[in-house]
Symmetry: C2
Subunit: 350 residues, 2 copies
């Protein structure tokens, strides 16, 4: 592979001059520029990004640590992150934690070792010392979707409370009274917040959320299956189940089907996170949709602000309920409930 020296030799100039034309430095003669460009072309020279990074102490790379690539929500998030990053001149390296704190740590360490310019993370747990230390040490960082309380890092996420209230109103209107939730890990904010939002919304209708109706999942399909089986085995099974993410909803569908039962006739189902397939499932699944693409883009903008020395703001966007048929039919509520959408709340952080 040709190096800058080869180009310099071929063009009859010093490596400094080659570097200058490559970096569009103004003080280079037209003549030198043409000779360098010709040499670059004929040698097929490409600057070594590794050497450049070592010298400039910038990699123009963002790290993205997500909890599970196989989750369509995170896949879409990752895609929008990469798009916005590319538009701003950054590449992104994705680390898939697979909902495992040890793997999350592996990726954070790997990314830090590579000296990425900034880190976008959707934490799988309360945060390892490694991640917390990095944040404290000033590594530009932004939490997206999930976050860790008490850490001074901007957070870009969706507030699902209003949508959860809409969902509970919907379930209540359809006559459901014994409602259960398949929760995510309590160590994650989305794991606990969704339970709390659900509990609060139920309380407004005088409905309880007893412990037996709170199933502990881990955001992956198998746990949705297991928890749902547990619900169905109860002396008094719930008549509606709210899965805190789309994969656990998939698991719930598996479990219901395996018993020969039907949604929504035997049990209603709703999910947090909407995905294209929910339109075509049997029945179509009522879900809470996040503005996923916008979250990804906003997170990148915040992180790049941090990296480039501008103040970065936290961003909270609203989620909305999309009613389909998995909670039962009720003509009058069909379609999208026009949630009085929260205006994007912006609070300045660092």
């Amino acid at each position: 592979m040709a190096s800058i020296k080869d180009v310099a030799a071929a063009a009859g100039v010093s490596v400094a001059t080659v570097s200058r034309v490559l970096n569009a430095h103004p003080s280079v003669s037209a003549d030198a520029r043409t000779r360098v460009l010709a040499a670059v072309d004929s040698l097929g020279y490409r600057p070594n990004a590794v050497a450049r990074s070592l010298r400039t102490d910038q990699t123009h790379t963002l790290g993205l640590v997500i909890s599970d690539v196989l989750n369509p929500y995170f896949t879409e998030l990752a895609r929008s992150v990469e798009e916005e990053a590319r538009a701003l001149g950054y590449s992104v390296i994705i680390g898939n934690a697979d909902e495992r704190p040890d793997l999350q740590d592996h990726h954070v360490r790997n990314l830090l070792d590579r000296r990425i310019d900034g880190l976008l993370v959707s934490p799988t747990d309360g945060g390892s010392p490694l991640m917390l230390d990095a944040a404290r040490a000033g590594t530009p960082m932004v939490f997206v979707d999930r976050w860790i309380p008490g850490v001074d890092v901007p957070v870009v996420r969706a507030d699902g409370r209003a949508a959860v209230q809409d969902l509970v109103a919907h379930l209540h209107a359809l006559g459901h009274r014994r409602v259960a939730i398949i929760a995510g890990p309590a160590a994650t904010t989305t794991g606990s917040e969704r339970v709390e939002a659900f509990r609060a919304a139920l309380a407004a209708y005088g409905l309880p959320l007893p412990d037996v109706y709170i199933g502990q999942g881990d955001f992956q399909a198998a746990s949705g299956r297991r928890v749902t089986e547990g619900f169905l085995d109860l002396p008094e099974p719930p008549d509606a189940v709210f899965a805190a993410d789309n994969l656990m909803a998939l698991g719930a569908l598996d479990a219901v089907r395996a018993r020969g039962l039907r949604v929504p006739d035997d049990i209603a189902l709703a999910a947090f996170d909407d995905i294209p397939w929910f339109v075509h499932t049997d029945p179509p699944v009522t879900a809470i949709a996040q503005p996923t693409g916008e979250l990804g883009r906003a997170a990148v903008r915040a992180l790049v602000d941090r990296i480039e020395g501008r103040p970065a703001a936290s961003v909270t966007l609203a989620a909305r309920l999309v009613v389909r048929r998995s909670c039962g039919e009720a003509p009058e509520t069909a379609g999208i409930i026009p949630t009085p959408s929260l205006p994007p709340v912006q609070r300045s952080t660092t």
Copy 2:
């Protein structure tokens, strides 16, 4: 961030000694080792991978350029690639081409500039000069899923011909005679091969595959929608449609539903690539399943063989038909047809 110099100073040794203990070089005294380790620990030192890469000319990184991360098939492929790579001591950087040759080129260039040790690619087209040159120049490369003929690069893929024959037998048995295909781009091998396999299998039953029944898609949902609408507008619409990937099948479901029609009553549907949601769609979708995880792992092993100087072999695995209900009901063929599975064909390449 502490550097190796800081560690050396703290431990009272030279940077050479620090480097040796970090790299498990045998000739270091026990005493020096303990002092270095203590210094590393107290400083929270982490070696700079950028500097190490510049020096050793290895990044321990694999590039993976895939056509579309949002496609669950590729998401699963990416996941298995990362897993196997991690097991072998490599990281992977994913580039999402989004079925766009220009984006594919962007990522190949970016990855090459970063001096990745090897490249795994599922080409979106016939290959740009950049990619072809890299292959010729000896950059370790392996094609996975899709490939480019005439380039001396190992190929890891699934052979779907037997499964397509099973599918055609299934369609024929259910009485379908006017069968159509939503093809992928002809510039991709999977785009053309699946059409050819389908055509050949139909020919065995004396069924034609007229041009009007070959819809040109691009492996993404919108094209599946568009092509299916075209089919439905035909004076004589097909009675069965085979989508060459799962996203175009999603688009087809959208189009059929939008017309108020039903699968399989009004039109049968089958897809290449099986995904977990197909079990729960209305109706469950008959699909051809690839051994996706195994493909990803085999591709990584082949690439790492190339990188580490061992001969790399091409690998072809069999795909299999999974019958569900989207082509019609026929009790006797329900379940998985036990395809006389092709033994994995291995031919040596480089």
